[in-house]
Symmetry: C2
Amino acid sequence: IIELKEVHKIYKLGSVSVNALNGINLVINKGEFISIVGPSGSGKTTMLNLIGLLDRPTAGKVFFESRDVSSLSDNELSRLRAEKIGFVFQTFNLIPSLTAKENVELAAAFSNKVKDPERKAEELLELMDLKSRMNHKPNQLSGGEQQRVAIARALMNDPLVLLADEPTGNLDSKTSMELLEIFKKLNSEGLTLVVVTHNLSIANEAGRIIYLKDGRVENEVKKGY
Amino acid sequence: IIELKEVHKIYKLGSVSVNALNGINLVINKGEFISIVGPSGSGKTTMLNLIGLLDRPTAGKVFFESRDVSSLSDNELSRLRAEKIGFVFQTFNLIPSLTAKENVELAAAFSNKVKDPERKAEELLELMDLKSRMNHKPNQLSGGEQQRVAIARALMNDPLVLLADEPTGNLDSKTSMELLEIFKKLNSEGLTLVVVTHNLSIANEAGRIIYLKDGRVENEVKKGY
Ligand SMILES: Nc1ncnc2c1ncn2[C@@H]1O[C@H](COP(=O)(O)OP(=O)(O)OP(=O)(O)O)[C@@H](O)[C@H]1O
Ligand SMILES: Nc1ncnc2c1ncn2[C@@H]1O[C@H](COP(=O)(O)OP(=O)(O)OP(=O)(O)O)[C@@H](O)[C@H]1O
Ligand SMILES: [Mg+2]
Ligand SMILES: [Mg+2]
């Protein structure tokens, strides 16, 4: 469903170059549950941003449903992201002036898929155990609550693929395990799932673990089934 | 060194009240290493903000070095924070327009304690393994790198007490353990350390673990020594 082919990403900072990704090859199949792990700074977020069409590679190709994304306009990419990709950001990126519920509802504004955005937003926030916090703005929420709002928002458009960048970084282990159960259930219902995580109990539940180091795939481990 | 006495914190949201803290009693002794754990939303950040004089309680008393902080002006509190308290925020709060090094140096601007801020900022960033990232702005840093800049900044003024709100939420386990070693070394040199964390391998290294639930201390565990 998504493929990275010999992908490089170089950031330029004045005269200095940061080689964030150095030749990544990755095939993500429909319905897979993949986790990406690796040291801080190894390129996980950069890689997830390319998979999620939020950024373009410096070299190499990205394919989404077999289409080379470099041939798509920014508008077409935007549309694809809105309809097919759910993204949970490492730093949440919630809109400060909107409530939790409005933040989640807003995701439906960019696609025509959701019939009753308000009701769906409430259901997703309830799933995330945030029913009593729907009318709080981000700065009236705890770190872990903000993180869960970001997850609810990513699920709003029934995406084909959910990309989650460290979705449990601010959650206690009980809440993390509850989230893992939700992810596994959605995956069993057909959602393709790519989770960047430092939490090895989450990573170990994936069908495949990709180990990143210095912008390269250092190792890949497949589960027995 | 710091004491919370029957502390309550109530947030008002229109007609709704959120009782974030419901009668907290806590004594923090000089040189202790304490960890605070508990579910997402249980009041850990709220409690740390009161300990760090960033906020005032709705009821109850906060004592810093035996002085009742309600008798201090905002300016006096500001001064106390700048000179004696290092705070690592759950959401980093770095200044987007400044580089990592400038962000760390800035902490010295609010007190007269540091002779050579630029050199000290470099040393602290090197300690955090960020030597090659000193001139990056926050949006040119990974999540874990931003977190480490926030930690370096908190150490800039040689604080009496370091308060860290989930300092390893975005770090892989190797980097987390390296940070723990730095914390333990500073604690052995006299730094009082209060760490809010979901990472039990960090929490278990503390001399005392405070378990929070629904804004109350549910349990407290002291280590044998
Ligand atoms: N300004 C505010 N207005 C209303 N409610 C608030 C405000 N700030 C925090 N809260 C609520 O108070 C409760 C405690 O928040 P706090 O940030 O202390 O939790 P926490 O234990 O740090 O959680 P986490 O582990 O998710 O960071 C949360 O349920 C939150 O929704
Ligand atoms: N805009 C940018 N300009 C320059 N360097 C950048 C930029 N964005 C990221 N980097 C660098 O690229 C490297 C990879 O960043 P990335 O965010 O992908 O790491 P990560 O694996 O997600 O780390 P973490 O686990 O800490 O979140 C980092 O060393 C970072 O400093
Ligand atoms: Mg990252
Ligand atoms: Mg918190």
